[in-house]
Amino acid sequence: MSGILAQYGSLRDTQRAIERLRAAGYHDLEVFSPIPAPGLEEALGITSSPVRRWAVIGGITGFATAVALTALTALAYPLVTQGKPIVSLPAYFIIMFELTILFSGLFAFFGLLYHTRKPARRLAAEYREAFSVDRFGILVISPADGAVAEQLVRETGAVEVEVTE
């Protein structure tokens, strides 16, 4: 896809550039960052991640699995030991706790893979190796007016600007 790829050397410049670009009507942006940056997410208008739903669903699944595993297996072979109830909830709660956490963590991890479309076989053509070192990148995708967008990224302190095919 055609676009303008601007590289920035600081977080602050990148954030300001995103805000200016979005204010000027360029909403189709892909931003690369070497560090996790809540400020950039905010500038892009990303508020929450659906990964949290995966964590909750995983937790519920894990809890239910543990309830079934402990209670049903005890009922399948009902043997009273030490006068305790067949379904001894306090003891089984430990298994329920562990599986809640296990499934929640694994589901959230798979949620990350799903939403970020990983593992990906190849990197984006616009990806530059400096983006994993110290450069931030803003890709303005198919800008309506390429010259204006280019002017804008240069004004906001881009250290390198490329026009990509």
Binding site: S33, P34, L40, I94, I95, E98, I101, L102, P119, V133
Partner: protein
């Protein structure tokens, strides 16, 4: 190229440091603030062809592992008679060492998850190594129940699976809880560690060429650091930290219940869970210090892991030493307050009987030695800290020995009292477990970044430098 980008001045000579004032508490001696490219370069640098010293240490570890493997093969061939375990002491060095390594495993997730939630900036440069330590410590600990089992091929009895006899594990048994707790802890710690590694693996992929690039590229999963991906990533990291925190507390609690659920004097106590958790964090932090000191020296990472970090770890060590010391005192108080002569005799014998030496080693190493950490001079002296941390590790091994062995050696009926002395087989396997742990740890230091690159860069971007 990433290497070329490292030399480019950031934003026309304006350092990223101008975004925040650096903390002034502990001034550093360096003239220029760290840049993102510096961090990238310095942390990746140790991942290179190892020197002869590395191979020498690997060889020592392999010899240790071989010796332990031989000892274990003899145990499998001849039976448990080659150990010192017998009646009444059926739990010896193997269980002691199991609890020791599970305890070591605690600091990793404590540092990475709990301190993450508390926003403690000093965890940034130590969390990766501490997490790696967690993984390898659980790997080591996991061997011991199998070794202790004797007939290791019956291990699968613990796993819930639909057998043709319709028999299931007894979920009321603490040993089954333990398997679930440690299995979950290992899995979640591994996921947490791996998730933290993904952006760093991408940095490695971009740094290297050829085969290395391919391998790191596979594990980096095609990460390219888009902000959309980071938003999911940050959320996942937060959730993992959130669920790992109760997990840290639960694992050693469950391990402690292996003992506390038994009606053995010296074991059957409600303080066991917090007592064990505090002890685990105590020993884990001590091993982090023991490992970090040679590591930062060998890799020239003094700027990243500096006195500020050691000072904070030392404070945590002092705090947990107090909790452990309090537990020691409280155990005696409860024994006295219970008015139960058997409980009282158990504790009297613990400090004055056959195992008095291990008991006093434990008190000396875990309670008295850490008092030196009240002084800032000790906390910021690398040599002193190293000695304190080694002594704490020795003390914590003895703590588990004292709790486990003295209790069952001196139970209710005087006719069934007895003592236990570890055999050469057990000692060899104990030493082998250290070799096994260090083997994995050494491989880690040469294959993966020992400090989280992305987190250090994040810290630099916001605070200008590391202190």
């Amino acid at each position: 190229m990433a290497t070329a980008a490292g030399t480019i001045a950031l934003t026309a000579g304006k350092p990223i440091a101008d975004m925040a004032t650096p903390a002034q508490d502990i001034p550093n001696d360096y003239q220029t603030p760290l840049t993102l490219a510096d961090a990238n370069r310095d942390i990746i640098r140790p991942i290179s062809a190892p020197s002869w010293r590395f191979w020498f240490m690997i060889t020592i570890c392999l010899l240790g592992i071989l010796a332990a493997a031989y000892a274990w093969s003899q145990q499998v061939r001849k039976g448990m008679g080659v150990t010192g375990i017998n009646n009444p002491v059926g739990w010896g060095v193997y269980i002691v060492t199991f609890v020791f390594w599970v305890g070591i495993a605690h600091s990793g997730t404590l540092i990475s998850a709990v301190l993450y939630l508390f926003r403690s900036g000093w965890r940034t440069t130590i969390n990766r190594t501490a997490e790696a330590m967690t993984i390898f410590a659980v790997l080591t600990a996991g061997l011991f129940p199998l070794i202790h089992l004797g007939r290791v091929w019956y291990f699968y009895y613990l796993i819930p699976y639909p057998s043709d006899r319709l028999l299931w594990p007894n979920f009321r048994s603490p040993l089954v809880w333990d398997m679930f707790a440690i299995g979950t802890y290992f899995t979640i710690s591994l996921v947490f560690w791996y998730v933290g590694l993904i952006p760093d693996l991408a940095s490695l992929r971009d740094k290297f060429t050829g085969f290395k690039r391919k391998i790191y590229g596979i594990f980096a999963l095609g990460w390219q650091g888009t902000v959309r991906d980071w938003s999911h990533y940050r959320r996942l990291y937060l959730y993992l930290a959130g669920i790992a925190t109760p997990l840290v507390l639960s694992v050693h609690s469950v391990v402690s219940w292996d003992f506390a659920m038994g009606i053995v004097p010296g074991w059957h106590s409600t303080i066991f869970a917090p007592y064990f958790v505090a002890g685990a964090i105590f020993s884990g932090i001590a091993l982090v210090i023991t490992l970090m000191i040679p590591l930062r020296w060998a890799f020239g990472l003094e700027r990243y892991i500096n006195k500020y970090h050691f000072d904070n770890m030392a404070k945590l060590l002092l705090l947990t030493s107090f909790i452990v010391g309090y537990a020691y005192v409280m155990e005696y108080f409860i024994a006295w307050y219970s008015a139960d002569p058997i409980e009282q005799e158990s504790f009297r014998w613990r400090a004055t009987g056959f195992y008095a030496l291990p008991f006093w080693i434990m008190v000396f190493c875990n309670v008295i030695v850490p008092q030196s950490l009240w002084f800032k001079r000790t906390r910021t002296s690398i040599a002193a800290l190293f000695m304190v941390s080694v002594l704490v590790n020795i003390g914590m091994w003895y703590e588990r020995f004292v709790i486990i062995v003295t209790s069952i050696a001196h139970e209710y009926d005087p006719a069934s009292w007895g003592v236990y002395v570890p055999s050469a087989t057990e000692i060899t396997i104990l030493i082998g477990s250290f070799a096994w742990f260090f083997f994995w740890f050494l491989l880690f230091t040469k294959a993966l970044p020992v400090i989280s690159i992305a987190e250090v860069k994040e810290h630099i971007a916001h605070h200008g430098d590391l202190t």
